[in-house]
Structure formats: structure tokens, C-alpha cells
Amino acid sequence: MGNLLYLYGLIPSKEAEQSLPALKDFDGNGDIYMIPVGKITAIVCNLDAENYSEEMLKERINNDMEWLQEKAFHHHETVLKLANLYTIVPLKFCTLYKNQDSLENAVIENEAKLLDTFGLIKGNEEWNLKIYCDDHLLKKQVGENNPTIEAKKEEISQLSKGKQFFEKKKLDKLIESELEAEKNKTSEKIHLQLKGLALRGDVKKAWSNDVTGRKEDMTWNSVYLIPKTKVESFLEEVRRYEKDMKEKGWKFEATGPWPAYHFTSF
């Protein structure tokens, strides 16, 4: 059945003069290589169509975490190495083309958009920020410093013991919702300030504790496109938040620089 093409990324052909380092392909057997398509050059490898049918990919992604982990790391590491050498529009995991023609057509169709995108990401870096919060610590503060809750507490203390039990349950719920509001407000404020240092900033969905496997809640997940000259100040700022808010139960985790997955599309 021949070969499929696994597409890692697209770079400006001007930069393709710098030769590709030897990088192993998706299967670990061959090397990755370039396909020039006018002003744009695709970085790809061959994949045996028989081993990589749609069913096989679904099956593997669905049931074979070990495979997913190995291949996701391969994809990530390869694109990261390329991003250190070229201005690259990175492709998502497992972007496959049935043959060179279909890849070339896709590139030609999107040429103008791709050239714009190179302009946008050149000289900039993508960074991710996740904010975590220890609810237990924060809940105590909200419970102590929030006027709505203070008033409610006072009201409850006047009630009979039996009524107090149920009212306290309700109060816990109130604290819970005030807490969520407080967390969001604080995170958003930080996000807007950090966005000021960036070219762009977007909010992503925060993950549940099932996904993170952590006891602290993820309250914020955001991504920024930052001029290289401003990355240091951005990270210093994150560090300052971390230092100032640590004792109140907040944690800040920045990762990067990522290939600009979020701020490009193909």
C-alpha cells in the first residue's frame, strides 16, 4: 500500500538552507526529511500505510498508553529540536497525509496564511502557565475575611443547636462558591497583568484533579506568545506571584518555550 507521510511541521524555505540534523522517524527506523513546496518546506517522515491504518491508530491511542507515551514524546522532542533551529509551524500529533500530492496541495492552499503565521511567531515564544490552589488554606481565609460569610456566621450562632447543624452545612456551600469566585477573580487579574507583557494570551480549560492527579485544584490554565526579549521579565513576574502568594496556598507553574502549537494552525 506504500507510504503515508507523517508531518511534523512547516518552515519557511529560506530557513531550510540550514540542513536538517539526523533525527529518527516515527518508527525509529529511518530519518526525517524535508519536502520543499515553494516558499514553504514541510518536515516529514515516511510511515508504512499497512502498519498505520486508521483502525490501528485508534486502537493504539485508545488502548495502548505505553505506545501513546512513547510516540507523544517522540513527536514532542522532534518538533522541539526543530523549533530550536527554524521558525516552525508545529503540527499536531499524528497528522498524516496519504501521499506527497495531498500534502503539497494542502500547503499550497494555505500558503498565504502560513507565511503570515511565520511572521507572527518569529522571534516569539509560547509559554504555558498553570495556577494551582490549595483550597483548604484558601477556604480558611475566605471563611475568616469575607463579610457575607461573617454575617451568616453571626446569624447562625443565634440559632438553636439543631438548626445550627443544617445552617452550617449551607454555610459551607456558601464558602465553597465564594471560594471559587475568589480564585477566578485573582487568577484573571494575574492573567491580565501577564498578558500585558505578551503579544497574545489565551485562557485554556483547567484540568480536573483526576487528570492532574494532584490534591491542589488547577484554577487556571493559560498560554502566551511572548517576544523573546520579554520572556525573562514574564518569568520573573510569575516568580514574584509565586513568592508573594505561596503562603496563601497558591502555586504557579510555567512551562516552555513550546513550539507555537497554540498560536498556529494548519
Binding site: 500500500m1 503515508l4 500505510a49 498505520y52 491504518s53 486508521e54 491508530l57 485508534k58 491511542i61 485508545n62 488502548n63 498508553m65 501513546l68 507515551q69 507523544a72 514524546f73 513527536h75 514532542h76 518538533v79 508545529p90 499536531k92 500529533f93 499524528c94 497528522t95 498524516l96 497525509y97 496519504k98 495531498s102 494542502a106 504555558n128 443547636k161 439543631g162 447543624f165 485554556k204 480549560k205 483547567a206 484540568w207 480536573s208 483526576d210 487528570v211 492532574t212 492527579g213 490554565n221 520572556v231 525573562e232 518569568l235 520573573e236 516568580r239 510555567a254 512551562t255 516552555g256 518555550p257 513550546w258 502549537y261 497554540h262
Partner: protein, 92 residues
Amino acid sequence: MYSTRETMANKEIGLIDILDVILDKGVALKADLVISIAGVDLVYLDLRLLIASVESLVQSKMEGRKTISSEEFDLEKEALIDATGQPDKWKN
């Protein structure tokens, strides 16, 4: 001395962070991963499957350490007492 950027850039990154970035809309969203394969130009591969497997991975990891600490035990005990109504609370 290393700059903050260099320190951060060399930090280890977990699989979940990578998946969140390299999969189309991240691990937490139900999204479609575009693949172009075998005669059909664009095939949408439902990412919900993938999310399910990421979550089951995390869960199976968590089940691996199911010993309960005395702190957790106390918390559960408290919750039970709470749910049944504390006996001495009603004595007055």
C-alpha cells in the same frame, strides 16, 4: 548563573503537559484530531477516546497507592459522625 528562562526551559515536563499541547484541543476538551489517511483526505478521530485513556491511566496510577493515611481516616470518621449527627451534640 542561569537565567530564569534557562532554568524553566530545562525542567522536566510530564506526558500530560505534552498531550495537552500536541493534541488538538488539549486533554480536557472533547475535540477532534485531524488525520489524513488511506484514501480519505481528512478523517476526524474522536479525541474523547484518548481523554478516556488518559484519565484511566491517571486513575490506575492512583489506585496503585490506596493505603489510607491516619489523616484521611480521621477525615472519613469525621464525615461519618457528621452525617449521622454527633451524639454529644444533641445532649445539650
